[in-house]
Amino acid sequence: MKRGRAYEEARRLGDRYPIQYSESDRRVVVERFDFPEGWDPRFGKLRYDLPGTYPRDIPTVYIPREQSYETGKPRHLLRGIGPSGGDGTWSKWCIEDHNVTWDPDEDTLIKLTTMMRASLAAPNSDNPFAEGQA
């Protein structure tokens, strides 16, 4: 435990992506995230809103409202639902639809970003983390 767990995780995520960390808003924004094949635009932001109970609970994830997928609105995207008090530029991505087993001892914002890559790569799958497995 150094400068708080979320701060340290955001710093580590910053080894790969430009990161904005807001302590007061409990928010982490991943800038220039490389969206998987099928998404347009291919680079955009991810927004993680950290619950007051983080790391015991998984953050709420949003993607930019302008992001679109080639086959239409994905199953786990909730257009029209954004952060409270937001400016309408975000849409909620229901990462928790995947029945994620979030383990506060092991899981981090880095793991969440990996999960988001898998989820966005199979945006209509209920279990994208098993895609391609035997």
């Binding site: 435990m1 701060y7 955001a10 910053g14 080894d15 992506y17 302590e23 619950p51």
Partner: protein
């Protein structure tokens, strides 16, 4: 609240185990402490290995300057304050020696030169006792010791005080010694050093009187509390009167807790609840009547508490979620969580762990199947951070429940439509007043035990109201707990690092980290 060095039992145990060994050598450890209104909140212990000590004998020890510099700097970087602890293995209840006082004075000058605005402290531990001082401007002020959850220690710390004591400590002789201007009982030791650097904030500025244990002197106790006094003594009653208790959630359960605390003579209540009274609450919410419907629950319960205990009761009300106003708990000696949302209970638990505040978590659960009663139970858990298990140590955080709690009404509706939320999960939970009453009384019993010290508080109680069986368990904190464990937030207090931007390594291979606030 008088400033103190608050030591969780786990920290006392670790200091004793690491610094007091059979070879009789003095040893050294850093304790990283959060700060809270002048008090130091001990969290993590970092013992200095013998090989990193520049000097070690049966009468002296000191880490190498490089070890000191590195740890102190790292501690400040993490928003904490270092307490430099060494042992006097030869002493039962130790005092700083003249040599200690001299070297602490030199260290104070050195460190305040490097970090002019930072807090730090020193402590010495013996077989059972602990003495501590804290930087106070250009002096070192003596710091009373409070052991959080002291009932869990095999050998209590002599002279320690607690936040409910109507006097400054159980050991009046130490307070008297402090008031004379010395660091401890052995004035010759201090005079051998630089006593002018030592000040005392206990006898002179602490503002608390030492009362005899039988409490026969001091303020008169209202006749209405006569039967209480016969149960747990005048001192116990005064401890309740001096207590500030936060009650988070004043629905069917919390309203009963608040009423009982008011009638017991607790001096100040802080009631927190964002909800207004609804007609469906009236079957359980004590003190609420038809005319309260539509009004804040905290207002209805405050009115009832004042009617229940009209003398000397202060009630602060906060009609908001606790997550939005955690600072209202800062002056509370103890917090009782009576909320139905898991996330609010987890939040209260984490607040308690960070601030080393006692937390009593109370809840009920009724399960039905096809209209038939399956189970009916009341739970009460006492959290003495670093002494007992916390809410998360026992794995009581329910992620599925918090997932739903965090969703807006529209999200839940769409979740049902999309097939990701079970409509049954959105129905109100069953609730009955008699189970609430049982739970409230058990929770209040824990509060009274902690505040009065009359008996050992229950650590975890489950009452099965189907079979009428009560199970009581002792608990221990878990090192793996994400909240109070080794990588958790025990004693960190309220820290702020501001906002930041992080960017991947630039072309020259340097990672950038830029505060952006």
């Amino acid at each position: 609240m008088t400033r103190r060095l608050r030591l969780p039992v786990a920290v006392v145990r670790e200091l004793r185990a690491e610094l007091l060994r059979e070879d009789g050598q003095e040893r050294f450890a850093f304790v990283d402490a959060g700060t809270d209104d002048g008090s130091l909140l001990a969290g993590r212990v970092d013992p200095v290995p013998d090989e990193d000590l520049a000097r070690q004998s049966r009468t002296a020890c000191r880490p190498s300057p490089a070890v000191e510099r590195e740890h102190v700097s790292d501690c400040y970087d993490r928003g904490l304050s270092p307490v430099l602890v060494h042992s006097h293995p030869f002493a039962e209840d130790p005092r700083f020696s003249g040599i200690d006082v001299e070297s602490m004075g030199r260290f104070r000058e050195w460190l305040t030169g490097l970090f002019p605005d930072r807090t730090f402290g020193f402590a010495v531990v013996g077989e059972t006792g602990v003495e501590a001082v804290v930087r106070d401007g250009d002096r070192l002020a003596s710091l009373p010791i409070e052991v959080v959850g002291e009932w869990k220690l095999d050998a209590p710390v002599p002279g320690s005080t607690d936040r409910f004591a109507s006097g400054i400590g159980h050991d009046a002789s130490r307070a008297a010694g402090d008031a004379s201007g010395t660091a401890g009982g052995r004035a010759d030791d201090v005079e051998a050093g630089d006593a002018s650097r030592m000040t005392d904030d206990v006898g002179a500025g602490g503002g608390e009187r030492t009362l005899p244990a039988d409490g026969r002197e001091g303020e008169r106790i209202d006749d209405r509390f006569d039967r209480n006094v016969r149960a747990f003594g005048a001192d116990g009653q005064r401890r309740l009167q001096s207590a500030t208790v936060g009650v988070v959630g004043v629905g069917g359960l919390g309203s009963m807790v608040a009423e009982q605390l008011a009638r017991l003579g607790v001096g100040e209540l802080v009631l927190v609840d964002p909800d207004v009274v609804e007609a469906s609450n009236l079957a359980r919410l004590v003190g609420a009547y038809d005319h309260h419907v539509g009004k804040p629950k905290v207002a209805a319960v405050r009115e009832h508490c004042w009617r229940s205990a009209p003398t000397d009761l202060t009630v602060e009300t906060v009609a908001d979620r606790i997550e939005a106003r955690p600072e209202v708990l800062d002056d509370c000696d103890l917090v009782v969580g009576c909320v139905d949302e898991v996330r609010a209970r987890s939040f209260c638990n984490e607040y308690a762990v960070k601030h080393l505040t006692y937390y009593v978590d109370a809840g009920v659960r009724i399960d039905t199947e096809d209209g038939r009663l399956e189970s009916m139970a009341a739970y009460v858990q006492t959290v003495a951070p670093g002494a007992t298990a916390c809410f998360d140590c026992l794995g009581r955080h329910d992620r599925e429940a918090t997932r739903l709690e965090r969703q807006s009404a529209e999200e839940r509706t769409r979740g049902v439509e999309r097939g990701y939320v079970d409509e049954d999960d959105l129905e109100p939970e069953p609730a009955v007043i008699h189970l609430n009453g049982l739970c409230a009384s058990t929770a209040v019993s824990a509060v009274v035990d902690i505040a009065t010290g009359a008996k050992r508080p229950p650590e975890f109680v489950r009452h099965d109201s189907i079979d009428h069986e009560t199970t009581a368990l002792a608990t221990e904190p878990s090192a793996a707990c994400p909240t109070c464990g080794d990588d958790g937030v025990l004693g960190v207090g309220r820290r702020s690092f501001g906002d930041a931007r992080f960017t991947p390594e630039s072309a020259d291979g340097q990672s950038e980290e830029t505060p952006s606030d």
